[in-house]
């Protein structure tokens, strides 16, 4: 994100600082803003590293016993692991049925065959740094991997919603007239349905028809196709304001086409609105992803996100295993707080007229 802000648009003849330079300067003075930017950057770096498998690549390995205790609670009793171990021991047939069992003569042959297959049973750890889940997976690695998916879904759907909203808003604001009427009608339709119901209606269709793609594609599409309305309204207002300004008329006079005026002349002047909205939407979508995944309409069951972690945590809490809940809940809370504070600071820095 800082890379974007570091490269202001080409300097004018007078060398007066551009919108982005000024915004960046203001943001740098804002201590809360810079601190939250740092936190967000750390999370983004974590997301990229985990995407390429540099960290938490082995989150799926079952390294500990079931519900392994966190290191600082090493002495606590772990009934679940004991009962699991007990089950494994009792697998041997307790009664000798060889005289009536028709398969008995072949048992030996099968046993020998089994021995040929090398099984490297790893010694499962009793404790993990922050505990383990039901299958003995490291909760911290799971939270990192979950962060990757949750943040990626948030950013991808945020970007798509901003692109849709900005494009439609530009169309409505620049052309006005019939185009505006049509898009306003569209906007009214989407906003007259309660937001959560709109999401669920899209989710129902996505789930039943499978036409929204596979993996995390459906949830990205659901969130962005329903979430573009707010930014559409803001960008439309900006385009209405800008399309009559002198610089746009000047562009027209030197023969700039409509498309060029819309996206090369006006867009850079309103893009700060999009950036603030992107930040705000991403926070909202991360929260929404968690809830949708919890309900089972979000990311597929074989991947892990903060939402799927929380849905496991509900049953774990009852048997006293609180670590997964804390790991997912706390990492999400930190990111959401930092992102919301960053949104406020970005708004202050880029649009000082607003409160």
């Amino acid at each position: 994100m800082s890379a974007v802000l570091d490269n202001p648009p080409a300097a004018t003849v007078h060398e007066s600082p551009g919108l982005w330079t000024l915004g960046w300067r203001r943001l740098r003075k804002d201590k809360v803003g810079m601190a939250s930017l740092a936190v967000v950057v750390v999370f983004l770096a974590m997301m990229v590293l985990s995407f390429f498998g540099v960290i938490a690549g082995d989150w799926n390995k079952e390294k500990g016993v079931s519900y392994a205790n966190p290191e600082f609670l090493a002495g606590a009793e772990n009934l679940e692991a004991k009962s699991m171990a007990a089950k494994e021991v009792s697998k041997a047939p307790p009664v000798d049925l060889s005289d009536i069992d028709p398969l008995a003569p072949r048992y030996k042959e099968w046993e020998e065959r089994t021995k040929q297959i090398a099984v490297n049973e790893v010694k499962r750890a009793e404790v993990l740094p922050f505990g383990g889940d039901k299958w003995g997976r490291d909760v911290i690695k799971k939270a990192v991997k979950g962060a990757q998916i949750s943040i990626f879904v948030g950013i991808a759907s945020g970007l798509l919603a901003v692109v849709i909203g900005t494009f439609l808003g530009a169309m409505a604001g620049y052309w006005g007239g019939k185009v505006n009427d049509l898009l306003e009608w569209f906007y009214n339709i989407f906003t007259s349905i309660p937001y959560i119901l709109l999401i669920l209606a899209f989710a129902a269709v996505a789930q039943a028809s499978g036409k929204f793609g596979k993996g995390i594609m459906p949830i990205v599409l659901i969130l962005s196709l329903t979430g573009w309305t707010g930014i559409y309204r803001l960008i439309r207002a900006e385009y209405i304001k800008h399309s009559n300004r002198e610089y746009v008329k000047a562009a027209q006079a030197i023969g700039a086409s409509n498309m060029s005026r819309m996206f090369r002349h006006i867009l850079p002047n309103v893009s700060h609105v999009s950036l603030v909205q992107l930040s705000q939407l991403t926070v909202g979508f991360i929260k929404a992803e968690v809830i949708l995944s919890f309900l089972g309409f979000g990311v597929p069951v074989d991947s892990v996100s903060w939402g799927t972690m929380l849905s496991e945590a509900q049953n774990e809490l009852v048997i006293g295993k609180w670590w997964q809940l804390v790991a997912a809940g706390a990492s999400m809370a930190v990111l959401v707080t930092a992102f919301s504070l960053l949104t406020d600071s970005l708004r202050d820095a880029l649009d000082p007229k607003l409160k």
């Binding site: 309660p194 959560i196 899209f202 129902a204 789930q207 809830i291 707080t337």
Partner: protein, 312 residues
């Protein structure tokens, strides 16, 4: 005024038609053939054929749209695909439990938020104000899911102050035994963002000239805040409550799922899980219409709150 209301109602028609069209495109076109959607869910072939026939799947799209429009205006969406219950019956029986939870939530949250907001706005800039704002930010950062899981576990499971979940036939038992915990949760989570928002509405008013004038002529602080400032800040607050109002019909579906409340929200989640399209279609269309009517109602309410507002 009457002319205004009639014109607003007239303007709703294209939007209602648009909502119907959107739902139609989504479920009948993108959603695809119910025979495919229901494969594996309903084993009875005749039943699927009758559903296909009722929807007119074998006929052109405009006929199907006509059938859908007729369904909307006759309040007859047929039967649920999974339970065979009448859709209208589902909606009518599920709305009660949802409102039992959500009406108290809306009233308690709004009044507490207004009360706290005016108190915090009055001491703006002090440590108290900052402390409350920081607490609000922290509270807002934790997911609603985490609160439900922890509160249900703590108050229901560990302390046993409230039943963990459940619902009965009697309204009073529901309200007094089963509702308090979900209501408390929703109020707790809803309070922080509303308090922050309403505080900013009060702060907008508190610096106005009329406040200074009122003070200059010797009006008591109490009266300045509760009469002058409050009345003016009520306009944006009303807008905000108006936006939240349609939501009480869907309810907090998460609460209904966690606490096994047989409300509309849980019904929708179940319907999404079972691909029970008629239920989702009906609820979406009717709630969109209700939302539009509520918006109109709020706009009329402005006139009551603020005599300066005139209808164009």
């Amino acid at each position: 005024m009457t002319a205004y209301v009639i014109r607003r109602l007239w303007q709703m028609i294209p939007t209602i038609f648009g909502v119907i069209l959107l739902i139609f495109i989504l479920f009948n076109w993108v959603g695809g053939d119910p025979a495919q959607v229901l494969a594996g869910k309903i084993s009875n072939k005749e039943q699927i054929e009758s559903i296909r026939h009722n929807l007119g799947v074998d006929r052109p799209y405009y006929v199907q749209l006509g059938i859908f429009v007729k369904q909307v205006f006759t309040f007859d969406f047929g039967r649920s695909w999974s339970t065979n219950e009448e859709v209208s019956h589902i909606i009518l029986t599920r709305i009660g439990p949802t409102l039992t939870i959500m009406v108290p939530v809306l009233i308690i949250t709004s009044s507490l938020a207004v009360m706290f907001a005016i108190m915090v706005a009055y001491v703006r800039g002090t440590m108290k104000d900052r402390g409350v704002m920081i607490v609000c930010t922290v509270v807002m950062s934790v997911s609603f899911l985490v609160y439900i899981i922890v509160f249900q576990w703590l108050f229901g499971f560990v302390l046993g102050w409230f039943p963990v979940q459940g619902w009965s036939e009697s309204f009073w038992k529901n309200l007094l035994t089963y509702s308090p915990l979900p209501i408390m949760l929703a109020v707790f989570v809803g309070l922080a963002p509303e308090l922050r928002l309403y505080r900013s509405f009060f702060l907008d008013e508190i610096h106005q000239d009329y406040v200074r004038t009122a003070r200059a002529k010797g009006v008591s602080e109490r009266k300045v805040m509760l009469k002058h400032v409050m009345r003016n800040a009520l306009i944006p607050i009303l807008t905000n409550v108006g936006i939240a109002l349609p939501g009480i019909f869907v309810g907090s579906f998460l609460l209904e799922v966690f606490f096994s409340i047989p409300g509309l929200g849980r019904e929708i989640i179940t319907a999404v899980n079972r691909s029970d399209f008629p239920v989702i279609k009906a609820v979406t269309v009717y709630l969109a219409i209700v939302t539009m009517l509520i918006n109109l109602g709020v706009d009329v309410m402005y006139k009551v709150v603020d005599p300066r507002v005139s209808f164009k």
